[in-house]
Symmetry: D2
Subunit: 349 residues, 4 copies
Amino acid sequence: MIVVMSLKASAREISDVIARIRSMGYDVHLSEGKERTIIGVIGRGRPLDRDQLALMPGVQDVMPVTHPYKIASREYHPDDTLIPLNGIKVGGPNLAIIAGPCAVESREQIIETAHAVREAGATALRGGAFKPRTSPYAFQGLGEEGLKYLAEAREATGLPIVTEVTDPQLVPLVCQYADILQIGARNMQNYALLNAAGESQHPVLLKRGMSSTIEELLMAAEYILSHGNMRIMLCERGIRTFETYTRNTFDINAIPVLKHLTHLPVIADPSHATGKWEYVESVALAAVAAGADGIIVEVHMDPEVAQSDGRQSLKPERFAAMVSKIRQLAPVVGRQVHELVGEQVGEHD
Amino acid sequence: MIVVMSLKASAREISDVIARIRSMGYDVHLSEGKERTIIGVIGRGRPLDRDQLALMPGVQDVMPVTHPYKIASREYHPDDTLIPLNGIKVGGPNLAIIAGPCAVESREQIIETAHAVREAGATALRGGAFKPRTSPYAFQGLGEEGLKYLAEAREATGLPIVTEVTDPQLVPLVCQYADILQIGARNMQNYALLNAAGESQHPVLLKRGMSSTIEELLMAAEYILSHGNMRIMLCERGIRTFETYTRNTFDINAIPVLKHLTHLPVIADPSHATGKWEYVESVALAAVAAGADGIIVEVHMDPEVAQSDGRQSLKPERFAAMVSKIRQLAPVVGRQVHELVGEQVGEHD
Amino acid sequence: MIVVMSLKASAREISDVIARIRSMGYDVHLSEGKERTIIGVIGRGRPLDRDQLALMPGVQDVMPVTHPYKIASREYHPDDTLIPLNGIKVGGPNLAIIAGPCAVESREQIIETAHAVREAGATALRGGAFKPRTSPYAFQGLGEEGLKYLAEAREATGLPIVTEVTDPQLVPLVCQYADILQIGARNMQNYALLNAAGESQHPVLLKRGMSSTIEELLMAAEYILSHGNMRIMLCERGIRTFETYTRNTFDINAIPVLKHLTHLPVIADPSHATGKWEYVESVALAAVAAGADGIIVEVHMDPEVAQSDGRQSLKPERFAAMVSKIRQLAPVVGRQVHELVGEQVGEHD
Amino acid sequence: MIVVMSLKASAREISDVIARIRSMGYDVHLSEGKERTIIGVIGRGRPLDRDQLALMPGVQDVMPVTHPYKIASREYHPDDTLIPLNGIKVGGPNLAIIAGPCAVESREQIIETAHAVREAGATALRGGAFKPRTSPYAFQGLGEEGLKYLAEAREATGLPIVTEVTDPQLVPLVCQYADILQIGARNMQNYALLNAAGESQHPVLLKRGMSSTIEELLMAAEYILSHGNMRIMLCERGIRTFETYTRNTFDINAIPVLKHLTHLPVIADPSHATGKWEYVESVALAAVAAGADGIIVEVHMDPEVAQSDGRQSLKPERFAAMVSKIRQLAPVVGRQVHELVGEQVGEHD
C-alpha cells in the first residue's frame, strides 16, 4: 500500500501515520519530495485497513498496489485450471458448448431439447429448475420436479447438467442432480450462497453480476476458492450500461482480461448478453475469437411458447448452424470443438 | 400491451397475432395506418408473455402500457403507507433518523454509539451483525453475538434496531432481535431472501441494488408485498455509474420519482451514496429537501479504527450538527425532526 | 507519480526505469519491499508521460499522485472565485437564479417570459438561439435573430442573458449579445470551442458532459482558464446512467465534491437533470441544500406548445413557487436569494 | 406515435388530445379498453412533438413506433452502402484494415510507419494532425505540418489517409490532404462539425461517442447524410461504463445490431476500446467474427516513446501477426483480407 500525504501535511502528521503503520507490523519506506511525502508500506503485518489510514490527518490518498484476490490470481497460480466435463477439459483446447432452455418446462421438453443440442454438438445441457424472476407473478420454475427431469435428460443423452441454485439451503439438493451448479448474475455477491457452493466442493459456473467489475467477479470466485473448491468456471454474460437496444452490453474485453488475470476458465453467455436471438451467433463467434473457453446458450424447441427468455432463445437448427461455424473458427485461435464419439446414450432405447 | 407490426407484415401475420391474443382471453383493437398496423390488447386474460408475441412473424415491437408492479403502485393504493417507529410514523411528517456504526464491533462500542446518536436526535439504531463483504478475508461481523449487543443497546437507549439479514435461513433468528430487517443492496434481487422477509411479516428496509432501476426496486418490494407484508421502507443508497470520485452516485431524482410512483416511504443513505464522510451532510440535506422520509447514516465513535466503512462514517459531533441542520431545513418541505420526550431508557442505569 | 514494478521485475528493468525518469530531469525515491519495488518520481522535470513508463518492461502500474488540473484547483487557489451578475456575485452568499425557455421562439415569447421570470425572482435570463438537436430535422433555433430578441428582452427587463454557443466561429457574434456564453453538455470536450471561449474573455457557463467525470469537467475548465479567462461557472446537469425513468441522473454528490476541489462557482440544472417538470422543484431544492451557488431552470409560458424541452419546462407560477421555497431554504445553508430593488427596467415602457 | 391515456383521464381530456392530433393533420385510431384509452396517430401531418402531447392533461405516456433516423435506416435503403478505398469496397467482402500512429509526430515517423503497416496488409493509414486532448497541456498535434507529412506518406506508399478534423473551420483544409475525414468520439454530437463534414461531400469515418447510444450514432450520421453525403463509415470504439480495468468497454453487440439497422459500413477500433495493447488482437478478432467491415488500429514503431496512446499501440510486428490471424478468420464469416498486388508505390524511390 502507498500513502500519499497532502501538500500541507505536518511533520507530526507524517510521523503519526508512520507510527500507525509500524504498529501493525509493517516497515515503512519514505519518499520525501519537495512538495509532498509518500509513504510505502512494506512487508506482511496484521490486516491494514485502507480506510483507517485514509482518515488520518494529513493523508490525501491511500493506494493499493496488489490485487485483493489471491487464490484466483494467475500471479500465484500461473497454470490454467482445467475442469473435466463430458470427456473434455474446460480451460484446455476443447471448447465447452453448454446449451438448453432457460427453464425446464416439462419432462418432454427437456428430453427433446437435450437430444437436439447433443446432436448439434453440445458438451452439456443447461436448464433452470429454480428461476430467479424480476416479477413475483412470473413462472418461477418447476423446482425439484425440474431437477428430476434434468436427470432423466442426462440419462437419455449422456449430457451433464448445468442448473442454477438460488438459495444456500437448496445447495445439497441441487448437488444431488446437477453436475455443475450455476450461480446467477443476481447472486454473484450472495455470500451465503457462495459459501455454500464452496463447501459443496461441486463444480460451479459463476456468472458475473450485471454491474460487477472484473475484480469483483474474481473476489466472488475467491469466496468459493477459499473453501478449497477450485472447480470454478467464470461466465461473462453482459453488463448493464446506458445502451438499451440490447438487454445487456457484452463485455468482450473481459474475456482476454480474465484470461490474463486468472487461471480459471471463462465461459461466454451470448444469449443474456444480447437478449435477442438474432445477435447470439455473432456474439458467440466473437467470444470464441477473443479467447473464451466455451459458451452457454439458450436453445428452445419453440421459442414463441417458451415460458421465459423466448426472445433470446435459438431454435435447434440455428444452434446447430452456429456450432458448425464455431467449429470452423476455433482452430484460428488454437481451439477445437470436440466430436462426441461412440453411441449416444439412450438414443436407441 | 401494444403490438407494433413491421412495415412489411402480411395480412396473415397480422391475423395470426390477433388470433394468439384472443386465444389468451383478450380483446383486440386494431389501428390500421397507411404504413403499419398497431394492435392494442384489451381486457384481462391469462398472463401474456411479451417475448412470445415479440417473436411472432411480422411483429416489430411489443410495448407494455402499465407498470409490472401492482401492490407497490400508488395508482392502486393512493395513500401513503405509514410505518410506526419509536413514536413516529415513517412516511408521515416526522423524519426517520437512523444512525449507528457500519458493523457491531463490541458490546461497549454499540452501546456507547447508541447513546451518542440518541442524544443527537436519532430515531433508531443501525448496526450490522452479519456483514456482506467483497473480500472473504475481511471482517464478516460478529453474527448472533452482535445481535445480542444490539438488543442490549436497545434496552439501554430505547432505540429500535435496524440490522441486515443476508441469508434466508437466518431470517427467523434476526427477527428475534431486530425491529427492522435490512435487506442490503447486493441482495435486492435475492428472491429467496425477499420471500423469507415477506413471510416473516417483519418491517423491512429494502435497499436499492447498486445497478437496479427504480422499477426493479419496486418489483423487489412487490415480492415482499405479495406475502401480505406491507411494512417496507425503500432506501436509495446510490447507484453505480462511470464516476469514480465518489463510491456511488446518489440518485437524488429517485426520491421524488419514488414518492410519485409508490406509497411506500423512502429513506436516503448518504453514507454509502458518497463513501466519504465530508460529503455526507450535504447529501443528507439534499435528500430531505427532495422529499425523503428519513435518512440512514453511519456514525462511529472513532472512524480511524472502524473495522469497516470508516471512510464514510461521521463522528457523533458531526452527526449532531447535521441533525441540527436537518431540523432547520425540514419545515421548508413540510417535515420535522421529532424531539424524543421523557426519560431516556437506561440512561441513568 | 509512482511506478509500481511487477513481482518478477529484474534488477536491470528497475534500473532502466530509474534511468528513464532521471533522463527527464526528475529525482527518484526507491522503496524496495521484500516482494516488489516501488519508485517515486520527485521534483519537476520535462512532461513525463504515464503511458510511456507503463510500457517499460517490468512495470506493473503507474499512478499519478496529483490532479491533472492546475488553475482550476482549490489547492492552488483557495479562495472562491466570485463572478458579478446583475448585482450579485455568483459564488458568494447570493444564489444565482437563471431562468427562461429552452429556445427563443419569437420576440414576444422571450420578452413575456423575461418579465415573468424577473418578477418571480430570476437573476438572469436563459434562452437558446443556436440549439444543438439530436435530430437534423428538429427545430435548430432562430440563430442571430434569436440573439437580437434576447437583447431586446434584456433591455426590457434588465436581466443579463445566458445563451449557448455551439460553433467556435460564432463566438464573436454571440459575445456581442450574450452576458454569459453557455457551452452545452455535448460540447464540453469540443476543444476548439473551449479555446475560442477562453480567448473571448467572456464569462462562461460550462455544462458537464453527460458522461464526463468530475475530473474531465475540471480539465475542460482548465482549457478556458489557460487563456486567462477566469470567469467560469461549472454546471451539473445530470449524467447518463442505466436508469431511464428520468432523462438523466442528477449527480448531487458532484456539488459538494466540486466545491471541495475547485474555487469556481457551481450551478445546478434540475430541468435537464430530470427531464420532467414535476421533479424539477425537488431537485432544485436538493441542489441548493447540497451547496450549489445557483440554478438554471427552463421556464415556458405554455409548455404544451414549446418547440423543445416542453416536458421539462415549468410554467411561470410554478417557477415562482419554487423560488419562494428556495428563498426559505437558503438561510439553512448560509445563502439567500437576492431581492431586486428599484424600478424594473422597461416595465412601464 | 401512440398516446397512452392515464386510468383516470376524463372524456374531455381524451377529446382534447384527439383534437390536437387532428389539428396537426393526422388521423386518429381509438382503442378504448375497460381501464384505459389508447390513441394511435396515423398518417403524415406536420411535425408532432412528443413532449407537447405528453404534457396534455390525462396523458400518461407517448411512445414512438418508428426510428427517428430515415436515410441511415436499412428499412428505407436495404442494400449495403459500399465505399471505395484503395482498391476495395468497404462494406463488401474485403475487410478494411486502417492502421497507423495515434498522432503524426514527425515526417520520418509517419513515413516509416506507413511502410510498415502497408507491408503488414493495411488498406489505409491513420494518423492525427489535430489531436483532441483532455489536458490543455498535452501535445495537441502538428497541425497542417502533420497533414503534409501524411500526404508524403501516402505518396510514398499509396495508402489513403484517414485523419481527424475537430473544428468546422478546418474541414476545407483537412479535405485537401485527407482521403477520409475522421470525426472523433468527443465530437459525435458537434453538429457544426457534422454539417461541415456533410457539406464537404468527403468520405467520413464517424466514431461513436463514448456514451452515445446506437440510435444517437445513427442520428449523428443522419446529420451528414441529410447533406447528401452518403459515404459514411460508422466506428464502434468502446463505450464508457463502470468497468475501469480497460479504458472503455467495447460494445461488441453494436456490430451485428448496426449491420441490422443500417446499410452503412461498420469499422471497429480495438485500440481505444481496450486502451491496452495486449488485448487489441483478441478484440480485433472478435469484431471481425461479429461482422465488422474492418478495423482501425493504432500502430507505433516504438510505443514507449509515443507522444500519445502508447499504452494501446501495437508494434508493427504484432500488428502483422494480428492481420495474419484476421486473414485466417475472415473466411469463416464470408470475408477476406485483400492482398495488395503489383508494385508498392514509392517503394523503390
